[in-house]
Every structure is written in C-alpha cells, then in structure tokens.
C-alpha cells in the first residue's frame, strides 16, 4: 500500500500519467519550438496531431503502409503541409499582432476538424499497434503493456533528440539566435524565412508523430486534437512560453500529476493541470522555466 492505495493501482495510474505526459511533452515541445522562433501561438497544433493519426490510418487502409512506415511518413506529410501553410499564409501575419496568428491557426484547426468530421464522422476508428508491440510484460509489481512502454521510450528519445538539436548543435545555436534577433541573424547571410518555414514544419511534424503514437491507444478521431490541445497549452504556459526544456519536463510532470490525482482525488483529475497553471501564473508569470522580463 502507498498512502493507503494499493501499489498496483498507484503504479497503474503513474503509468497512465507518464503516457499522457509523453503526449503532453511531445506536443508542448512542438508548440514551444514554434512559439520560440515564430512567436505564433499555434492553435492548429491539435489538428496537426489529429492529422498525423489520420495519415497513419489512411495510409494503412489505402496503401497498406504499416505502423513503422507511418511513424516516418505521417510526420513528413504533415510537416510538408505545415511548411506550405507557413510559407503561403502564416508568414503574411508576422508583421501583425501575435493575436492574428492565434486566430488564424484557431480557424484553421476548426476548419480541418470540421472537414474530417463531415467526411469520417465523430466516432473513433481503431488503429492497431504493430504485432511486435502487442502484449504485456509482468514487472513483478505491475503489468506493463508493451505499447505503452514504447510510447514513453519513444517520446523521451524524441524529446531528448530535439532538445539536443536545439541546445547542442550549430543549427540549434542559429535557431536560438534567430529567436533573439532574426533581422541581425539574416544580416549574417542566414536565410531566416526558410528557417522559420522549417521550424514550423518541425513543430507540425512533432505533433503528427505524437498523433501516430497515440492512434493505437486513443483511436483515431477528428476530435482527438481538440480534446488534448487545451491541456497542452496549459503545459506550455506552466513550463514557460518558448522554453524547450520547460515544455518537456513540465509535460511529463503534469501528466504524472494528473495521473496521481486520479488515485487520490479522482474528482479533481480533470482540473488539476489548470489549477497548477493558475498557481504558476500568479507566482511566476513567465512559467517555471521561462525567463522573467
């Protein structure tokens, strides 16, 4: 027993929290990358997550593309769509107040979601996990479904890789510099508009990757993005807008906090993240990892 709760129930909810946290971390990472460089609050992020899952589903139905292929293809397809969107539409809004970017991506998310609801209906469609990831492992203290373990490992690996890309490479240094002063970086001979396009594509691709990972767990539905995006925004705010490390760490922490609240006080599990967000906003408006001022 842990605090009067059976160990299995406690660890089970911890696992659920970690899995949710994996998706929160991946999605808020993409949001943070996009906000950090483009200063766009990408409300279409949930729709891009949903599109990733749909690309995987349709690629399986129409082309017979298996899960492993979808893990590569869906982020590339959604990333390419994101690049086209940024180049043709979003880039026209950079000179305006960031609110315009938010409204534009919000409208886009509604349009995408509405179109897919009209075509596919609202109910979720099953998408099977690959055979290699089915089944469960008995860890002694709990039974761990292999696919859920894979989601945690894959999410951690991708988050760490993106963090290393941004913090430890020359390309990342260029991205960080462009976040501070894009005009000066461009005056050095760096094609900042292209960098912005690629960054948006990276963010959209990360959302799509999360969508493919989520498909076997939550089913594929046009509403899957709108169900999660508000929580993900709360994660980004708690972590600190634009903070890469903040988005990753806060994603996992809030996922776990949500999971453990389900054990100790289930009625509050749906609001605990927002309560934490409100407290953080009052005590530290820039977020846990954001820079004040």
């Amino acid at each position: 027993m842990i605090f009067g709760i059976p160990v299995q129930a406690f660890l089970g909810q911890l696992l659920v929290g970690l899995i949710n946290g994996s998706f929160y971390a991946l999605l808020s990472l993409g949001l943070a990358v996009i906000f950090g460089l483009l200063r766009v609050i990408n409300f279409a992020h949930g729709a891009q997550y949903m599109l990733g899952a749909f690309v995987a589903l349709l690629a399986l139905k129409w082309l017979g593309l298996p899960y492993w292929g979808a893990l590569v293809v869906a982020p590339l397809v959604v990333g390419a769509l994101g690049a086209a969107l940024e180049r043709t539409m979003l880039s026209r809004l950079y000179s305006l107040d960031p609110l315009y970017g938010l409204l534009f991506t919000f409208g886009l998310a509604l349009a995408l979601e509405g179109a897919l609801r009209w075509y596919f209906g609202s109910s979720g469609q099953p998408y099977s996990a690959p055979r290699a990831l089915t089944g469960a492992v008995n860890l002694g203290f709990m039974v761990l479904p292999i696919y859920r373990g894979w989601v945690i490992v894959a999410s951690l690996a991708v988050c760490l890789a993106v963090w290393a890309l941004i913090e430890k490479t020359r390309l990342g240094a260029t991205l960080r510099a462009a976040t501070e002063n894009p005009t000066l970086v461009q005056s050095f001979g760096i094609n900042v508009p292209l960098l912005l396009t690629l960054t948006y594509a990276l963010g959209a691709g990360l959302a799509a990757l999360a969508g493919v990972l989520a498909a076997p767990i939550y089913q594929v539905s046009p509403l899957m993005g709108s169900n999660i995006i508000i929580v993900v925004f709360a994660v980004v705010v708690v972590g600190g807008m634009g903070s890469i490390l903040g988005a990753i760490i806060t994603g996992y922490l809030l996922g776990v906090a949500e999971g453990l609240t389900k054990v100790f006080y289930p009625e509050a599990s749906n609001i605990v993240i927002f309560v934490i967000m409100a407290i953080v906003l009052i005590l530290r408006p820039a977020g846990l990892f954001g820079k004040e001022g």
């Binding site: 020359r170 960080r176 501070e180 970086v185 461009q186 005056s187 050095f188 760096i190 900042v192």
Partner: protein, 233 residues
Amino acid sequence: MNALLNVADLHAWYGESHVLHGVSMHVDPGETVCILGRNGMGKTTTLRSIMGIVRKRTGRIEFAGQDVMAMPLHRTARAGLGFVPEERGIFATLSVDENLMLPPVVAPGGMTLDEIHRLFPNLLERRHSPGTKLSGGEQQMLAMARILRTGARCLLLDEPTEGLAPVIIEAIGNVLRELKARGMTVVLVEQNFRFASRVADRFYVMDHGVMTQEFPVADLESRMGMLHETLGV
C-alpha cells in the same frame, strides 16, 4: 579605380518618416571611409540601408558590381557585405564561441579562428562564457571578430568605440589598422572624431540625411574649424 561600394541617390524611410534624402557615396577597395555627423543625421540609417536592414528605400546601391537593392537581406551578406551594429548584437543565449561561429562563411579569405584569437585573445579565454557576460569592449571585439571570420570584403562598422574605455578604443584602432593592412574595406560611422582621424582615409560629413562634404584625411587639418562648427566637437 572602380569603387567596391557605390551608393547613389539613396532615400530611406522608417514608416512615414523620410530619413535619408538622396545619399550618394563611394568606397574604393581597401579604403577606410568614415561617415561623420551629429546624432540623428542618418549615419546609422545609411549603413542599415546599404545592408538591406532598412527595406523601405529607393536609389541605387552597387557592391562589387552587383545591384544589392533588390536582394533579400541574407543575400546582401552573401555578396560580401558584413555589418557590425552599434548595439553589437551579441546573443545572450549563445556562448562566446557560438556567437563567433554563428555567421556562415560567405567567401574564402576570412580570418581563421587562430588569427582571430591572436587578434582578440580575450575571446579565447572566455570562449565558454555567455556572450552577454563579456565586458562592453570584449562584446565589441566579438561583434567584429564574427564578421571577420566570414570572408566579407567590406565591413560596415557602426560606432565601434561608443561607451568604451580609452585603452579598448586604442585596441580597436589597432585592429582596424591591421584590417587595413590586409586590404579590408571599411565603412565606419563614428562620433569619436579623434579616433576616426587615426584610422580613416577619407571622410563624409552627413547632415539631415544627405552627404554635405567629402574630403581625404590629408585635408583634415584645414577643415578642423568647419568640423568643430558642424559636428560640435
């Protein structure tokens, strides 16, 4: 000699505000040209317009025979123009080394890291420090060094001595003289007249968005009275 940089009838605007009113100037290869003028006369805007940072502009700017007016900003740098802004533009989230290595090499012939570290030894000692933790003088050296690495043929240098101690100003003067010996072309905007007179070959005087006078360093003595009156120095 064909000018490396040729500017003709350059007008520039910040929003509705008309700042440059037909600037014309030329800079020969290997020359150090200094633009003098009081605050707010358009010196910085001239450099920013040549570089392409100020986009609302008309007129003609040719660099090494290429029309750079229509080029996007990043292409201007690739053509061989390097800009060191007045505020230095050191990135707080990048280390000294990362700041130094940030601009891509645009042409062969730039300084090697060893040469840069010989010229600016402090940058080697503090290579892992965050860029903005350097002193003002060190930040100025870093801002210059990172452009010298790129192989840019012409350096646009905006008030490099502003707010610096005399010993640092002397060091920057030595660097400019070394660059001159290497054949680097420099366009310098400077309020520190004493400093400019030691490094420049030729001067332009700017007043209300136009070049009002041009003279070589040899004529400096005979123009001191006028300069004192015009510049308030």
